[in-house]
Every structure is written in structure tokens, then in C-alpha cells.
């Protein structure tokens, strides 16, 4: 059974999730990269973000008549947003962050504090992401930030698969895999030295 989360997502539902779970989201998703994080924190949100899904993404879009069409919309490297993300989570309370590569200790703490999760969407899967985007509901700060950095509001259906990689209980799949990799590296080194 696929676990589909509809926005707005309640804190209790997100608290049930653990690292390794696979989910999909339907409803309202908004994009924000480095510059958008800074602008929203300085000027406030143009619409309520609580319970919504924050996507680290700079999409490829084109205009078809009056409407925007999303061509490709894969995730960008999330670590660039690490310095502003804890403050962003506390200020606006999105329930799910989608990105790639994972985030640091400070974000992990903030996720536990506000009740949110970080999910990994497959890097490079831009065509798959675009297919699950059903429409563009709006765009903010387009003139000022440009297409990839603007805040895009997408209506999505079964957006995913999303692997819960950082949960609201202080666990991070990236930290766990990192420890395993270091351990394996030590073993491989020992073998190479013997050989």
C-alpha cells in the first residue's frame, strides 16, 4: 500500500514516520532555494506555509500561452540551505522538506523540535518529477529572483517516491550510512595493505 500524505499535513502524521519509510505527497508544494529562503525570512510568507511541502528545486519551466508548463523539476543539493533551514522551519512550519543529499545536525534538531521530516527524491529524476506536477498555482518573486530561484507553487499528485531520510526523532539515514561507509573503508584499507 502506498502511503500518500495530503496537504495540509498534520504534525501527528509526520511524527509517525521513521527513516527508510517511503511516502508520496499530494496537494500544495512550493519551491525555495538559497535566495528564496533569505527573502521569505526577511519579508514573511506571501501565503500560509504551515503543513505544506518545501521542495529544494530550480525547475525548467516554459510558458505555453498564459500558462506555465514544468519541463523538468528534479531536486537540488539541500546542504546549501543548511544555514537558513532551522530558522525557516521554526518560522513557517512546513511538514515535509524534499531535496537531495541530506542536511546537517542543526536542521535535524529543528525537524525534531517542530515535527517535520526531510525526504530524499531521486537526484536527476527531473522528468518523473515534472510528470507528477499537475499545475502551477502561482509564482512569487519571479522578476527579482529569476526562474530557478523564484518561489513556485505547484499542485502535485502522488509526488514521489520519497524516502524519509531524516525523521522527527533525531535519526538521519545519511549519518548512519556515513558511519557504515567509514567502517567499510577501514576494512578495505586493511585488506589492501595485507594484499
Amino acid at each position: 500500500m502506498e502511503r500518500v500524505f495530503e496537504t495540509p499535513i498534520a504534525e501527528e502524521r509526520v511524527r509517525e514516520l521513521e527513516t527508510g519509510d517511503v511516502i508520496y505527497v499530494s496537494g500544495m508544494l512550493f519551491t525555495a532555494r538559497d535566495e528564496a529562503h533569505r527573502v521569505l525570512l526577511e519579508r514573511g510568507a506571501p501565503f500560509p506555509l504551515e503543513g505544506l511541502v518545501l521542495f529544494h528545486c530550480g525547475p525548467v519551466v516554459r510558458k505555453r500561452g498564459e500558462a506555465w508548463e514544468v519541463v523538468a523539476a528534479g531536486p537540488t543539493t539541500s546542504m546549501r540551505m543548511e544555514s537558513l533551514e532551522p530558522e525557516f522551519l521554526r518560522a513557517f512550519r512546513p511538514r515535509v522538506i524534499i531535496g537531495k543529499g541530506g542536511m546537517g545536525e542543526r536542521t535535524l534538531k529543528a525537524l525534531a523540535e517542530v515535527g517535520a521530516v526531510y525526504c530524499h527524491f531521486t537526484g536527476g529524476a527531473g522528468a518523473l518529477a515534472a510528470q507528477r506536477i499537475k499545475g502551477v498555482r502561482g509564482v512569487h518573486y519571479l522578476e527579482e529572483l529569476g526562474i530557478p530561484e523564484a518561489i513556485w507553487v505547484f499542485e502535485v499528485e502522488r509526488f514521489g517516491p520519497l524516502v524519509v531520510a531524516m525523521d522527527s526523532h533525531g535519526r538521519s539515514l545519511y549519518a548512519e550510512v556515513g558511519a557504515v561507509v567509514q567502517d567499510n573503508l577501514r576494512k578495505i584499507r586493511a585488506r589492501t595493505k595485507e594484499g
Binding site: 527508510g20 517511503v22 530550480g58 525547475p59 525548467v60 516554459r62 519541463v71 523538468a72 523539476a73 528534479g74 543539493t77 537531495k100 543529499g101 541530506g102 530524499h120 527524491f121 531521486t122 537526484g123 536527476g124 529524476a125 527531473g126 522528468a127 518523473l128 515534472a130 510528470q131 517516491p161 524516502v163 531520510a165 539515514l173 545519511y174 548512519e176 550510512v177 556515513g178 557504515v180 561507509v181 567509514q182 567499510n184 573503508l185 576494512k187 578495505i188 584499507r189 589492501t192 594484499g195
Partner: protein
Amino acid sequence: MRERIVSELVEALRRAATVLPADVVGALERARDREEGPARVQLEAILENVALAREKGVPICQDTGTQTFFVRVGTRFPFLEELRAAIPEAVRRATEDVPLRPNTVHPFTKVNPGDNTGRFVPHVTWEIVPGGSAEVHLLPKGGGSENCCKLVMLTPAAGIPGVVEAVVEHIADCRGLPCPPTVVGVGLGGGADLSLKLGKVALLRPVGERHPEPEVAALETELEEAINALGIGPMGLGGRTTVLAVHVEYAHRHPASFPVGIVVQCWADRRAHVRISSEGEITVAGGA
């Protein structure tokens, strides 16, 4: 003739951006079959994405890469001037037609001309060989994986075990950043610049095709097994498959130095190939 070359090169650029070569798809399918949990979910999503891009004729990844050309041209090839001029023109046209994301930024002014051309780009590596035809290999190279390339200057005493240690350690450091499962090209010897160039040339080979010399092929196998034993897995979420293949090329080295050029390519190992005969016949193929 020039116009014909341009339009066939545009076709090759389109194919590279939208259709993943069969050898890469095969390797991804085999990887999916041996994985479970989050690793399998990633590979299923990748394969669904690849099928979707092919069916709709849209780019596989939003980062359509830096358009990189390797040309092997015969000394008697009659259309050299036409080919030279056709390459940047084809890149401009493909940027509009496919579309490709404009990926060339001036390092000082940050101005992006918007057509994937600029100073020294698209870069072409020309190799002159005997004969009358030309082979154009196209490698669109994504930024995330290019950021994980590295040059290591080993001491010659470290030898081949030193190469294994340097490559495995570096890939361990990269974790999920280059969008694994990756293809890793390793260039040995030749000097700092040539070792990295050979690492990139190694990526032109179909995934899994071994180097013809047994010693080199054995190093490829050893590196693949060691890297996959790290447990980084697809997208760095853990698993058995961190590389789809490791390809090694080499050149003779200076007695005092042992350069190792490590080139990392994301799972979207996009390639295309154009052949132009001395009579002006042009054939385009996706993949190698």
C-alpha cells in the same frame, strides 16, 4: 555539407539528452534486481524517469550538462572546416530545440550567454588518426558529478595498490553527492592534465566493457568490487551498488610522478556518437 552536419549533430545532442544508452539502462536494471529497501526504490524511480524521458522526448535530468566533444578525425577527412564550424552551431540550435538548460557562465561577470557556448566551450578534444572519416563522441557532463572529479599525484612507490586506495577513499568522501550509482573513469600517468583527460575518455566506453589489456581489466574489477563494498548505495542511502562500472585508461608516466585522474559520471551517463564518412555519409547512434 555544413548544414547537414549541424542537423545531424543536433539530433545526436537531442538523443544524448533524452535517451539513455542501452548498456547503462541494462546495468541499472541489473542493479535494481539485486537491491532492496530505499536502494531499490531509487533505482525503480531512475528507470521510470528514463522510460518517461524517452517516451516524451524530454531531457532525462534538468541538468543537461556541459556539452563535451571528442573527435577522432582522419588525416584525409575532406570536411574538416565544415565539422569545426558545425559543432558550436549545433550546440546553439540544440539549446533552443531540445531544449537544453543554458549552462555556461562567465567566471568574472557571471553573465550566461544562454546558448551553451562561451570562451573555450563547447570544448572539443581533437585526435588526428590515419584515414578519411571522422568519429564524433558526445558526452554531456552534469555539474554535480563533475564537482566530484579529483587529481591525485601519487608517489611512484605507492604503485597500483596506491591507486586503489586513492580512488576508493575519494569515492567514499563523495558519498551521495555525484548521484550514484556512478560510472568512474580513472586515467593513470601522462601528467596532471592528461590523466584527467584519459579519465574522461574512459567514460566513452560502453558500461562494463573491459580494457583489452588483462592487467588494466583486473584493476577495473578490483576497483568496482572495493567501491561497491563501501555500502554508499544509490543516492547515498545505503546499498550494494555505488558504481555501475569503473573504466581505466593509461599513458606512460614520468619516472618521478604517478598522476591519477579520477572522473565521476552520474547515473545519467549520457552519450551519443556521429560518424561521417569520406563520402559525406552521416550516421547517428545513441550510446557508444
